[in-house]
Symmetry: C2
Subunit: 420 residues, 2 copies
């Protein structure tokens, strides 16, 4: 009997995670001889644990194709990490139980490092209890921190958003600087690594234009050097644009976002690193400033996604199905770079146990010697990833996105599972 497949989305979503879903579902539909239906977990792995799944075979091919240009996670994602195998086997056994009941033979899990770990553990427990389940992790993260792949789908589009926004805001500040705002600060994501902050550096080819300064998590914040650099830019260029990572830290390793301030009621201040940087500039240099905090906008901005990224997100989804059908188990599709310029790439794969719980940090050689900008090597790596535009269709000025029927799969287990 043909097996069904389970697909779920995990962790912070991106503007192209649904493009990977599209790749999985379209590839599975082309192999109906081997894969019966693709069930989607609602809210990630929770959907399997509490048997809350929707049947994607009930969606039209048009709807599935629209996933290519729909940001967010259409099936719902979850920030939920399965516990360690040795500590809590219940969760894993429940997954196997659900998979058995629904005749699921393929487990596709679309997420970051934690998710690769989960997919790996599911394959282990499958072997152990003698239930054949093919587990494929599908890479996704704007943080670009998965190893063994040239890049992670989601990163290129967020990077493009940041680069484009930095260029645009830079032109704005440059024109205001004579009589008004002289410093502009853009706060971007990247708690552990400076990949996204580095993307700001692609806005222009020279430090005479925005951004003049990038603050990376990798480089301990040196207030004196920083202020000197800000002042230099205002004196030489008339203004200064700063891209700061939410993960920027001081020399003691403390996040700049957490430094300093409590409000009148003694609450710790909620503002982030951009506000603290603004405060430092105001108190020491007195320049008029503005700041923007991109937050979710950067990772959901499908309207400015990179064409490379959309294509790669789709291809890793498709490849996941192909790997499964080739009989690979416990692997993750990867992007392999063949050439920088013109960018050439293909897909490959890597074993999940090698990927799981490993972070790829940004190489020091991608950051300039003074620590405030990116290098030519970084540009060479990153430009191809933000290259090309892939615009969604619009109606009445607003992007059209997929509207799924989300028809539930009938529940078959009597016992309810309590999430701890």
């Amino acid at each position: 009997m043909k097996k069904n497949a389970f697909y779920a989305q995990s962790g912070g979503v991106t503007s192209v995670i649904n493009a990977s879903a599209c790749g999985v579902i379209e590839a599975a539909r082309k192999h109906k001889d081997k894969i019966n239906k693709v069930y989607a977990g609602r809210n990630g792995i929770l959907g399997a644990l509490i048997e809350d799944m929707t049947d994607t075979s009930r969606e039209t091919s048009k709807t599935i194709a629209q996933l290519l240009h729909t940001p967010g996670g259409v099936f719902g994602s979850a920030r939920f990490k399965l516990q360690d195998l040795r500590k809590n086997k219940d969760e894993y056994h429940r997954l196997i139980q659900v998979f058995k009941k629904h005749n699921i033979g393929y487990f596709f899990y679309n997420g970051g490092g934690d998710s690769m770990d989960t997919a790996h553990k599911v394959s282990l427990i499958g072997k152990k209890v003698g239930f054949p389940i093919v587990c494929i992790g599908i890479p996704k993260t704007v943080d670009n921190d998965l190893p063994f792949t040239d890049t992670c789908p989601g990163f290129g589009s967020a990077a493009k958003y940041i680069a484009v926004s930095t260029k645009e805001a830079g032109l704005d500040v440059a024109s205001m600087a004579k009589t008004s705002t002289k410093v502009f600060i853009l706060e971007v994501m990247g708690r552990h690594a400076g990949w996204l902050a580095a993307a700001g550096g692609l806005a222009n080819e020279t430090r005479k234009k925005a951004p003049q300064i990038i603050l990376f998590p990798e480089i301990p914040f040196d207030k004196k050097e920083f202020l000197k650099e800000v002042n230099k830019s205002v004196k030489n260029n008339g203004y200064c644009v700063i891209v700061v990572s939410e993960g920027a830290k001081n020399k003691k390793g403390k996040f700049l976002a957490e430094i300093g301030t409590t409000d009148a009621f003694g609450h710790s201040q909620l503002g982030g690193v951009a506000i603290n940087i603004a405060d430092i500039i105001k108190n020491n240099l007195g320049y008029k400033y503005h700041y923007a905090i991109a937050d979710y906008l950067q990772r959901s901005a499908r309207h400015i996604s990179s064409k490379t990224d959309v294509e790669q997100a789709y291809q890793v989804g498709k490849k996941a199905v192909e790997l499964a059908l080739e009989g690979r188990n416990s692997v993750m599709p990867t992007i392999i770079r063949k050439n920088d310029s013109p960018y050439k790439w293909t897909t490959g794969y890597i074993e999940l146990n090698k990927v799981a719980n490993k972070e790829r940090m940004m190489p020091r050689k991608f950051i300039s010697t003074d620590g405030f900008h990116i290098t030519a090597a970084c540009r060479r790596y990153m430009v191809p990833l933000i290259n090309g535009e892939d615009y969604p269709p619009y109606k009445n000025g607003i992007p059209i996105t997929a509207k799924l029927k989300n028809i539930p799969v009938d529940r078959m287990l009597k016992e309810k599972f309590m999430i701890k």
Copy 2:
């Protein structure tokens, strides 16, 4: 002898103010029999006062055409208001003196309400001293607060950015809400009127989707009602997206952005209204939240400008030249709406003394009865303004923008002018 023209940009810039510059320069170039050269003031009116101008006739037609897709103000803008005529005639006399020396017979001033007032005063002083100068104001402001025109160039594009971003971030939060972020707050511009906040309401056609709540400057903030509404949305939809105007106020008329907090050193907190709203939600409902502050990104986002807006910005520039050549003086081109759907419009004009220093507030009938959303009338008005896309060209993943030679006009006055 043919006269030259002076063109300058004033106040906060937009993603399409250079499209108006393009309209002025291209129209002037088509009437070389009447207009010799267009000189651009560097940094707005300061350029005239201190005789700091560039000669746009030295730019290629290709460069001028690229202004159509270049955000910011390419000649530099200024936040600088001429003093009252009766208080300080020096500034006005200096302008006339510069115009005389450079044979300038046309004054095109591209800005908001203050700038229309300035253009009007220049025409008055011209008459008084017997120097013939044709003064035309060209409307520009993302705030959409100029009267007598259907809309102000700059607004439609910022509105589109906000509507699109709200839709995209809404899909992101919706997918995270089960286990993580339940409330997302987007702070937008609009110190005095809620036009930009209202644009967030275009993201979706129903309040079941983002944004569920809009906080307008026009509606005094009612904490209890607000919290009730947030809670209702989280219960019914699983999440809540809030678009808040930087101009939102409490019942006493105080900006929410300024309420409450000073830091550990007694400085007033720099964070804005989004942070205070987040704080209220955290302390009263405890939901996990995220917030974004769009700031300059919303007004410089040429990559997602509305086609209607780009076209209107160009046309008011062109019309300004045509009005001048028809012998009109002290007027501003306007947009006249002929039909809502399909949107039909044409250009007209209004006397500057009627426009100067007047603000157009958002009608109460554009805000829903409960004060938390927009009405069908608001949609009818606003949808055409965000309609259509007008993408810039890209290279290496980044938008291409105009690079001007900015060749200075030789100074001809001996006396330097001291700005007070």
